[in-house]
Symmetry: C2
Subunit: 419 residues, 2 copies
């Protein structure tokens, strides 16, 4: 895509009330627009990143047997009354609205009830299980405060998978698979090295739930990390008994602020009981389905990547979720330069290499470099009078200080290499 066709521009400033680094950088670089505290629109660059994250998550969910669907945002009061989660006294972050006839309607803040209600229509026999439906949708939570940019939205884009299993054994097998899938996701989006499987509070049906916590000063959670074992304990369950039961040693644990980028939860029969979600086993006996939930906030994940991988010049996207692989900069008005850049742009596109081409005619080299650092595309390729005189193009990774001149063939070879 040519930058002259992209309507967004970088900004020197983000909104005065924006205090989070992730939103500040993403707004200044033209990825998101702040509509109000905790509510952001995704501009073209931002949507590209979200879609790449979505595709990675979809691949990992499909690999462990997930089947995608899409539940509605509007939620039916009667459904949520079954599990006693309709009342604002019980769940204090509902957004609700009303139909013309006065009927109250809720906006999805999570999906357990919607899934249990739908699956009840289709599960009768042990032959119908297990099943692992999931969806990507906008979720709404009436947060009292919302100052962490896209780390904690009032409206946010979310993946939720629910597992429906015959028994604990079948549940546990999937639960372990989901841990691996989640690890793959966080590794693939570039924050695996900072993300820890974290033991957190469970519920009636399991001692722990598991969170995936990414260490960053922007985090709202406190975790205690064992760097050698690669696991952590959330402050909410951090005590001597838990430390010991996990085979950890207090003196080896390091306190860190962290963001919860994903969680998995054994629900047992918490929701299948009120919904009477049952199946007949091989002996014709009725049993309650065992459920689990597996969530990831896509905006939060994108914001976390920005928090942990940016530098003082801007964002540094991992190649897997960058809006483009290459940022091609044409410097100066020289005709050979313009033609050379245009020619290279077309060649890269033909080869299916995603490239953003800064073809703006009236922008200085300094501005183009600063914009490129702020936007954070993995490879920067410069075409200038000097680079052509030196025999080609200057290529530099966003993480490198110094570029090098290589010819077209070498450049294409480099950019076609899969990481």
């Amino acid at each position: 895509m040519k930058q002259s066709q992209l309507f967004t521009k970088t900004k020197k400033e983000s909104p005065a009330d924006e205090v989070s680094l992730n939103a500040e950088l993403l707004i200044r670089a033209g990825y998101i627009n702040k509509e109000m505290a905790g509510v952001y629109s995704y501009l073209p660059l931002g949507l590209k990143v979200i879609k790449k994250i979505e595709n990675i998550i979809r691949e990992e969910m499909d690999k462990i047997g997930g089947i995608e669907m899409r539940t509605s945002v509007f939620q039916n009061k009667e459904v949520w009354e079954k599990s006693n989660r309709w009342d604002d006294e019980v769940v204090d972050n509902w957004f609700k609205t009303k139909l013309k006839n006065g009927t109250e309607v809720g906006l999805s803040f999570t999906n357990e009830e919607a899934y249990a209600d739908i699956l009840k229509q289709y599960i009768n026999s042990y032959k119908d299980l297990p099943v692992y439906p999931y969806d990507f949708k906008n979720i709404f939570r009436n947060e009292a405060r919302s100052k962490s940019g896209i780390l904690r939205g009032r409206e946010f884009y979310w993946k939720a998978l629910y597992s429906f299993s015959k028994n604990d054994e079948e549940h546990n097998i999937f639960y372990e698979k989901s841990k691996e899938a989640y690890k793959n996701i966080f590794r693939r989006v570039g924050i695996g090295h900072l993300t820890y499987l974290t033991f957190a509070s469970g519920g009636t049906f399991s001692k722990f739930s598991h969170e995936f916590q990414t260490v960053t000063s922007a985090g709202e959670d406190l975790i205690y990390v064992d760097p050698n074992k690669g696991i952590a304990i959330n402050k909410e369950v951090y005590n001597d008994e838990v430390i010991e039961s996990l085979g950890l040693k207090k003196e080896e644990l390091v306190e860190n602020k962290a963001v919860e980028v994903g969680n998995i939860f054994s629900l047992g029969t918490k929701f299948s009981a009120p919904f009477e979600l049952k199946y007949k086993d091989e002996n014709g006996e009725e049993k309650l389905v065992i459920m689990g939930s597996y969530g990831i906030g896509l905006g939060r994940l994108m914001g976390t990547v920005v928090e942990v991988l940016s530098d003082d010049k801007g964002i540094i996207w991992p190649e897997s979720i960058a809006p483009f692989k290459v940022h091609l900069l044409s410097l100066g008005g020289d005709e050979n330069v313009r033609n050379g850049a245009e020619d290279l742009y077309n060649k890269l596109k033909e080869r299916g290499i995603e490239v953003l081409f800064d073809d703006r005619a009236d922008t200085s080299a300094g501005e183009k470099f600063a914009d490129s650092d702020l936007i954070g595309i993995p490879y920067r390729v410069v075409v200038s009078k000097r680079s052509l005189a030196d025999g080609g193009f200057e290529v530099k990774k966003r993480t490198e200080v110094q570029g090098k001149i290589i010819n077209e063939q070498e450049l294409i070879g480099l950019l076609e290499t899969k990481n």
Copy 2:
């Protein structure tokens, strides 16, 4: 996909309060789930259809210069007050909700204000125009009645593009291109032959807007069609003067019920004026941007296809938006049949042919045929003792009465042919 892995099942009945044909068939076949009147969830089969429709629309939007983004559902009161569309007395189908601090928030019922507000930050010069951003998102409208299934939802999935042009001339060029793009979309989803460019009421800035109306008895609109010229007039502007101005003759027009599957609208400066959305032209003079809007409801489009292409046995999907191309049915418990079907299933998958494999062991041939007709996949391929004895597989299009036996090579050749 194997049908045994798909959790949905066909149903004999749809909900008692469901009076529309589209929702009845889609619910019975397992495409959608009714959450409440006007609110549906998309089950795995339904989401596959929605995504195919979405991809067709995206391709056509990108072809005419569209650039995708995603605006938030939550809308800021202050933004909508600028155009005087916040007040419930002015817009009577808002859904609104409240933040903890009492601040009112609206749920998107359309997107003009959100786009004008965002683009205002980025448009300064004639060099920034034209630009054609669009998004796919859930839209919410507080309809007093909602009895048309997915033809008129209270929550629905929608594509909206907005054009931002320097002047009427530039606007009109894009407006004509958008007509062609819309015709391509309706042709590609299989209802082009029943869909008419329809003249409807305009506004302050244009005599007419243009709707794309698909003729069906399920429609809520009345249009007057000239079958030879392929255009129509909406009842709201149907009078002698309009008929004459379009060069039509009253006696050649046929009255039809129809569904509005798309609309395009010249907005002039209606929204750019209150938002002071201006640019500096080549002479440094400030001018208001000229806007247009271009909408399509994806659920409505899906429902319309069901309304106009189904028969008394079920749905008939056009290949372009069918959830799968082939419905493979294995009949009876014979081992050769089971192996033959499994083998064919794997070969089709290897070739990238989308196939739903009815591998259910304890389901009768009659039930499998009835389910297949209801679900409406374009090609049905049967593997049975008889078909194998006759030298292969029985293939039948959903629209054909009689199948024919062909061998594997012929079958793969047939299914690999692009339509």
